[in-house]
């Protein structure tokens, strides 16, 4: 077994030791990410338990269609990353590059929909740090067809606290924001891999980078799978909210 044409770093004894270290390193890193997101998930869950009625109301106003599409995009991209690993193992450079590119595009698609969603929230007065929170007239899903009223009025009628809704939206932006940041970093890593594949640096002997990047990508996907129901499915949706 060749020493992989210079892939072996000087401080490792052999390539197996190096690969083992790199894989273990990535799993350890993933553990820190789980603790990191776990902290904010926990804080959110505490408030959701206390303020169930208010959180259910705001959650029901989020765009669950976009959330569903985003879930599909991420799940698919995780699948294509796995195909990318297989392609790297087989030395199929073209397929490797294609699958990496598809994964990156799907991830970018996710971010695109996120931007669309944030924009929708901006226009509906749902950004908690802005002074117009709850003060923009929008449709009332409980009374479809009636004229638009501000969220504050709608909440007042239902006995929902605007302050607690603001707390929900704070958590929403923090959680999806940090997740989005992790996704962007993942897309960047995939693009770097694509570049290295293009230059021929990824071979059946040297594909661990694809593997560990894929592991990271799966984690970002898995976090979304928890994040999405927590935020979007905390209450009934009266409409698809297109």
């Amino acid at each position: 077994m060749s020493d992989s044409a210079g892939a072996l770093r000087h401080h490792f004894e052999d390539i197996e030791q190096q690969r083992g270290a790199e894989r273990l390193g990535m799993w350890m890193f993933l553990a820190t990410e789980i603790l990191f997101f776990g902290g904010v998930f926990l804080a959110y869950t505490v408030y959701r338990h206390w303020y169930a009625k208010d959180f259910a109301d705001v959650s029901g106003r989020l765009n669950v269609l976009v959330a569903g599409i985003n879930t599909l995009l991420l799940l698919t991209s995780s699948m294509t990353m796995m195909f990318a690993i297989r392609a790297a193992q087989l030395g199929d450079r073209r397929r490797l590059m294609n699958f990496l590119a598809i994964s990156a595009v799907l991830g970018a698609g996710f971010m695109g929909f996120k931007v669309y969603e944030y924009n929708q929230d901006y226009h509906e007065g749902l950004m908690p740090w802005r002074a117009n929170f709850g003060k923009v007239p929008i449709h009332d899903p409980d009374h479809p067809g009636s004229p638009e009223r501000t969220l504050e009025e709608q909440w007042h009628e239902k006995g929902v606290s605007p302050q607690r809704c603001r707390l929900f939206m704070t958590f929403y932006f923090i959680m999806t924001g940090i997740h989005g940041l992790h996704l962007i970093i993942g897309i960047a890593c995939i693009l770097v891999l694509w570049g290295r594949a293009y230059l021929g640096w990824i071979t059946p002997d040297r594909y661990v980078a694809v593997e560990v990047t894929s592991l990271y990508w799966h984690l970002v996907d898995a976090i979304w799978l928890f994040l999405m129901p927590l935020l979007y499915l905390a209450g009934p949706h009266h409409s698809l909210h297109l």
Partner: protein, 561 residues
């Protein structure tokens, strides 16, 4: 009875250049060869230099605090400045000194050597961790000096998010960034110990320092991310207040819960104190065995107790919150669990003491520090028990009793262990020996000064003097003055140490590879070591403390060389 089997490494791994036999200190003289190094030993030195600087900064803040407390109404500082000073003392000592200290210096330097490896698993991650630490530290120091931070290092909202007018966001951001350095170091050490042990180095033959570093790294890896998210949430709340449109996450006036912050904060900060003591315990095992020429008593117990402390340490955080308004049942649970975490520490103390039995003990500076650790850490640990016990904690919480307790474990424990480690491994790191006479004087001064500073504080706390008080009832003045006097003795000790250690770098007698006749793999190299540590990968044939058989881990004679 040499049983060394030399395993010649494959040729492709050797660097063909001549520097393979040059000490790591001489392998490149430029500033860039230091700032862009990936050599774990140089990185340890980089950490060491700044740790000393930061310790001096934190110590200066401590001096200001103690000086101010000689008068019941604040002798040199007004209330606001005092509040900023004790906050700065806490933040600097904890995040810029204690948490990195042994892991980043001796962990980085010696874990690879002790397991027979050429470097850490991820050398570039290692140097990156140093830069991240420096950047975070710079941010924090700027925040502390330019305007200051007056929330206490514990940062409790809503004071820290809505009421204070000080530099919360930059200060917290500095700590946030430094946390990533801690995670990176921890990750590196775990992977290194798992994957890079040389042939024959089984888990059962790992030096206890490596066991301790492993346990510490587990905590660094898993607890620090929770601090990161907690601080991130606090920064969002504080920033929104500063910008005029407050968002409440922990602010009860905006439907948040301040006690939630405390839970999240202490979920990290309690394990953090174990980050701050377990490495010290590892060092003590190394020194006690070497200087009593005996095997450690109860290797398995001591090794597993480190892991046990790390794991149970994650389950006890709310013992900082017994009077914070938590429920009676929660308090019961956490007090019970805290009693469990005290047991492994007790086991260690008994094992260490038993190691001395029928030894051949000599009292050079490393041993004085280790014995001092044993005495002071025992007091620190035992005084934790009234705090872990519910009925007594009500009275003692947030008084100087707590201040005395944690300084006993952190200074009497960890700082002494750090100094002991420095003195033990100094000849290996720099190839020179310091003055034996002055090192004994310095160590004794630090220990005596320490006791004088903090013993009176148990009294003050039991009599009710609260923490963080620049103004106090006049009947507490005498003991406060005594405490401040102790500070000056400590200062003399630290200055003595700094002096003779610096002098040794220029004038010290050259040290051989193994001046203490120790048995670990790190002593099987020249002093200072070559860049790649070992010419050939060592092969380990026995356990780490075979002093009674006079055997190093590679089976050679453990003589002074």
């Amino acid at each position: 009875m040499s049983t060394v089997i030399e395993t010649p490494a494959p040729a492709s791994h050797e660097h063909p250049e001549a520097h393979e036999h040059v000490s790591y200190l001489k392998d490149g003289y430029s500033i860039w060869s230091w700032l862009f190094t990936v050599d774990h030993k140089r990185i340890g030195i980089l950490y060491l230099v700044f740790l000393i600087v930061f310790f001096a900064v934190g110590g200066t803040f401590a001096g200001l605090v103690r000086l101010n407390l000689i008068s019941p109404h604040g002798s040199i500082l007004d209330n606001d400045t005092y509040n900023k000073t004790f906050t700065a003392h806490g933040v600097v000592m904890l995040f810029l000194f204690l948490i990195p200290s042994i892991p980043a210096v001796m962990g980085n330097f010696f874990v690879p050597m002790m397991i027979g490896a050429k470097d850490m698993a991820f050398p570039k991650l290692n140097i990156a961790s140093w830069y991240v630490w420096i950047i975070g530290a710079g941010c924090a120091i700027w925040a502390l000096l330019a305007g200051g931070l007056d929330t206490g290092w514990t940062l409790y909202p809503p004071y820290s998010s809505r009421f204070t007018h000080t530099n919360v966001v930059p200060g917290v951001f500095g700590v946030f960034v430094m946390g990533f350095s801690s995670i990176m170091t921890g990750l590196n050490i775990i992977v290194t110990i798992h994957r890079m042990r040389c042939p024959g180095m089984t888990w059962g033959r790992l030096p206890l320092f490596c066991w301790a570093m492993y346990a510490t790294s587990l905590i660094q890896l898993l607890a620090t991310p929770v601090l990161a998210i907690t601080l991130a949430l606090l920064m969002v709340e504080a920033a929104s207040n500063a910008l005029g449109n407050p968002i409440g996450i922990f602010d009860p006036s905006l439907d948040g819960d301040p006690v939630l912050f405390q839970h999240m904060f202490w979920f990290y900060s309690h394990p953090a104190v174990y980050i701050m003591i377990i490495p010290g315990m590892g060092v003590v095992s190394e020194i006690l065995t070497c200087f009593s020429r005996k095997n450690i008593f109860g290797y398995t117990a001591v090794a597993w107790s480190s892991v046990g402390i790390a794991i149970i340490g994650f389950l006890v955080w709310a013992h900082h919150m017994f009077v914070a308004g938590i429920s009676y049942y929660a308090a019961l649970l956490f007090s019970f669990l805290t009693m469990l975490v005290a047991v492994p520490s007790a086991i260690k103390v008994f094992n260490w003491t038993s190691t001395l039995y029928r030894g051949a003990i000599s009292f050079q500076a490393p041993m004085i520090f280790a014995l001092g650790f044993l005495v002071l850490f025992t007091i620190g640990g035992l005084t934790g028990l009234p705090l872990a016990t519910l009925g007594s904690d009500i009275h003692l919480h947030d008084t100087y009793y707590v201040v005395a307790h944690f300084h006993f474990v952190m200074v009497g424990g960890m700082v002494l262990a750090f100094l002991g480690a420095l003195h033990y491994w100094w000849p290996k790191m720099f190839g020179v020996m310091y003055s034996d006479f002055w090192s004994r004087i310095g160590s004794i001064l630090v220990i005596v000064g320490y006791i004088l500073t903090f013993m009176p504080q148990f009294w003050l706390g039991y009599h009710g003097m609260p923490r963080r008080y620049p103004n106090y009832p006049p009947e507490f003045q005498f003991l406060n003055i005594m405490s401040t006097a102790g500070y000056t003795v400590q200062l003399a000790g630290f200055l003595t140490i700094l002096t003779y250690l610096t002098i040794s770098l220029f004038n010290g007698k050259k040290a051989g590879p193994n001046p203490w006749a120790a048995t670990g793999l790190e002593w099987m190299t020249p002093s200072p070591p070559i860049t790649h540590n070992f010419d050939h990968t060592p092969r380990v044939v026995c356990g780490p403390y075979e002093y009674s058989l006079n055997l190093t881990q590679t089976g050679e004679r453990a003589d002074v060389r």
